[in-house]
Amino acid sequence: QQQVKQSPQSLIVQKGGIPIINCAYENTAFDYFPWYQQFPGKGPALLIAIRPDVSEKKEGRFTISFNKSAKQFSLHIMDSQPGDSATYFCAASSMGAQKLVFGQGTRLTINP
């Protein structure tokens, strides 16, 4: 019940396309859903996060869509660029939790 399932494991998109990465969870107590971005040879860094009181959050070209009833959330990257090539992790936690639960990660490649 503490798992967050992420898909796909890898994704290749042409420049300008809109990659979509999906995550699903079971624990209805989860109320914080961040996405982390990791470039090769670096540690993950927070990209964008959402709480379940909104269905969508945008920051620049990155958008999180949240479906509370389906217990799913997804990351969309508009006008994707080769510089967006990285591994993306979704995560979740609940109020008072001391830990984040991470998804398995998606390796995204944007071809020029």
């Binding site: 540690g43 993950p44 709480r51 936690s93 609940s94 939790a97 001391q98 998804g103």
Partner: protein
């Protein structure tokens, strides 16, 4: 601020050897974490600490030990290295609880190869 620093960047160990992975943060964060990252497996929490002198196990603690004598430092100890511990290890810190939306800041990682 340097953020979260980790040493060494890369290490090769022989089976049965011991080593300590160092982690230091200069942000005065209360919470610190150790993760391991295996290909296609995401980030698995090994140990975490909510403050100096307080540590707790994560998902995969077997084969590891930690201590937290200061706010800044959170070393990870491998006592008897095994090939299954070949991985990339990340240290992270946060000001407060994950559940109150506190960002976790990650170090650059230590790549460990056990042969």
């Amino acid at each position: 601020n340097a953020g979260v620093t980790q040493t060494p960047k890369f290490r090769i160990l022989k089976i049965g050897q011991s080593m300590t992975l160092q982690c230091t943060q200069d942000m005065n964060h209360n919470y610190m974490y150790w993760y391991r990252q295996d290909p296609g497996m995401g980030l698995k929490l090994i140990y975490y600490s909510v403050g100096a002198g307080i540590t707790d196990k994560g998902e995969v603690p077997n084969g590891y030990n930690v201590s937290r004598s200061t706010t800044e430092d959170f070393p990870l100890r491998l006592e008897l290295a095994a090939p299954s511990q070949t991985s990339v290890y990340f240290c992270a810190s946060s000001l407060g609880l994950a559940g109150v939306q506190e960002t976790q800041y990650f170090g650059p990682g230590t790549r460990l190869l056990v042969l």
